[in-house]
Symmetry: C2
Subunit: 116 residues, 2 copies
């Protein structure tokens, strides 16, 4: 299944996971399109000032991969500046959060894989 | 776990899956770092002229997401020109291939999730 960028389903999330501003979620493939247990495969766009609040992942692993822009990524209690090519893996009850504290859009790939 | 771009493990594959030239595979997270059943999470760089040959995925789903550049993506018997933001999902015994027929590097995210 090829999904052109223009065919993605766009969802606008306000205060995502308790964060600030709007996050644009562009779903590349729906959960039902996978046979593997994947519940999210999306591009996330955080405009300047936007954030995804801190939240945990219990029975699933989430990967963020930074594509464009820079931001502040929280991995548990540790905060790191990230830029394109940087990634985070969160699961096993760990928490993460991300904030665009820059002046350009921050774009990520996000994928969530469930354990069972 | 935060993985900075500079910390990725780089692997150079020649004639990947029967394709042409070299493909640089930058592993973001190893299989062992996931609790979910993910066996590849990488950035792939195909210089101009490079390709990944046609191959099938039986008991796993693979997602490619184009990050930079353009190329020719084969989905079964169908060929489509792709550019940044375009994606492909391949599994259930389907096949795919990709070729950088342009003059700039083609960069993808690739993730493989096993069914069991």
């Amino acid at each position: 299944v090829i999904r052109k960028s223009s065919e993605t389903i766009e969802e606008i999330r306000e205060g995502m996971r308790g964060g600030d501003g709007l996050v644009i979620v562009r779903h590349l493939f729906r959960k039902e399109e996978f046979k593997a247990n994947v519940r999210l495969c999306a591009r996330l766009l955080l405009p300047p000032g936007a954030s995804i609040g801190e939240h945990t992942h219990e029975a699933e692993d989430e990967v963020y991969i930074v594509i464009h822009g820079t931001g502040l990524l929280r991995d548990g209690s540790k905060e790191t500046r990230v830029s394109p090519g940087d990634a985070i893996l969160t699961g096993r009850g760990q928490s993460h959060a991300i904030r665009n504290d820059g002046t350009h859009d921050l774009e990520l790939i996000a994928m969530i894989m469930c354990y069972a």
